[in-house]
Symmetry: C2
Subunit: 264 residues, 2 copies
């Protein structure tokens, strides 16, 4: 089952659609969009309306109460960036201001000098959860989507926190949809720049897996419906330039495409 | 003007109050609670109802889209904790799962060994803002409240991030209300443990002030209505024990009181 969050595309608002103003949740079946009342977390019912994918503008599939992000979870990436391999799963955070949808532009600030992509698997929490064992961990997951953890490497080194290196407006593309049924064990992450493959890795080749993270985190904190957990990245990005188009694809999850443009 | 977020106290729901179920926003005048439809950010109107403070249970005054928190912003605290004085205002993050209201208990996990308070001024953003000069910065502020940035110092040292040291469930008491009119320049922060004064400092004695932070942040990111910015702390906390009651008071903002109890 595929969930999107969308708005009516420009010019469609005046049709008097049954959709609520602003963003709404919908099921995606092929290119048919089936809006619901409610949401994937607290219950929903189909409105009966059927739209086409061309009729809507995709928004990020979820705006999380808390935005978790795993750093340093793939050995090649850690080595390339000259960092130390962690000995336990300490999760980090990103910020909602930076989220943009599939198809929207990443704006590189005028003083950003070394902008990289990081293609990541995103876990979307569906149910309130606390103190889960690793075996129970997947029980609180709604589904999966993709994220691009855009990073300015010089700020990442010079600043005490990742506030602008990773959370500048538009630096967190996510989407296009949440899929409730994917095969994590047999998933590949492929990142293309301007149509040419730049990075490829086995998605589940993680130092600490999804079950370990959810179980460890839930010992100390409550996970809430809509919370997201970005699982980290492997490989190395080239320095991105004005106009570059980056496509993150994970097996079964489609493609998250965003153009990188220089702030003017 | 004082804003609270509240729920009806136990036993009052069946009175058929005009208040929406769940939390509602209200103005506080002395001990009179004046509920509104809407909220302080997008517009509101009084419902006409008048409740008493005893009739309601206070919730945190705001649940932020993004939860910003300044670390290392007072020189004594930096020296006592053996840390380096920052040369620029790099903001950090905290997490919504950890928020609790005035009067609720902080639960210290069974394996927490060194739990400290940090009494802080909290800035609440009222308007969407981007690229503000220091002179313009206050224009986006709705008002001020207080926070206790509860910290487990051993985890703060042993973990790569602050995920459990500072974001364990219940580790972020905030409230009791947002005041739109306070005199930051003449404000003192006082923290008491079990009724005895433990820390006192001039609130505005910051390395980097509110205007500098808001202006610097807004160069790279959009601030949204309801975002919060905790301004850091001075002084040093004793190790807190099961049953300790911590009271954070800032001139004009009342008292944020929470009991610390050991997880059982």
């Amino acid at each position: 089952m595929k969930w999107i969050r969308a708005r009516l595309a420009d010019g469609n608002d005046e049709k008097g659609s049954a959709c609520a103003p602003g963003a709404f949740h919908a099921l995606l079946e092929d290119d048919r969009v089936l809006p619901v009342r409610g949401d994937p977390y607290n219950g929903h019912e189909r409105t009966g309306e059927i739209l086409r994918l061309d009729d809507v503008r995709l928004d990020v599939p979820v705006v999380p109460p808390t935005f978790y992000c795993v750093g340093l979870n793939y050995t090649k990436h850690i080595a390339t960036e000259g960092l130390k391999i962690p000995d336990k799963p300490d999760v980090g955070y990103r910020a909602n201001n930076a989220l943009i949808a599939h198809g929207e532009d990443v704006i590189m600030p005028a003083d950003a000098t070394k902008v990289h992509y990081e293609g990541e698997l995103v876990v979307v929490i569906g149910k309130r959860a606390r103190s889960l064992s690793p075996d129970e961990a997947r029980g609180c997951v709604l589904g999966y989507t993709m994220g691009n953890d855009v990073s300015e490497r010089n700020w990442q080194k010079s600043d005490r926190t990742f506030w602008r290196a990773k959370n500048t407006d538009t630096f967190k593309p996510m989407g296009p949809w949440i899929d409730t049924d994917v095969d994590i064990e047999n998933m590949e992450t492929v990142v293309k720049v301007n149509g040419r493959e730049s990075t490829r890795f086995h998605t589940n080749d993680m130092l600490f897996g999804i079950d370990t993270f959810i179980s460890t985190m839930s010992r100390y904190l409550t996970l809430y419906p809509g919370d997201i957990l970005w699982m980290g990245t492997d490989g190395h990005s080239p320095d991105l330039a004005d106009g570059d188009v980056v496509e993150v694809s994970l097996t079964g999850l489609g493609t998250l495409r965003n153009r990188f443009v220089r702030e003017r």
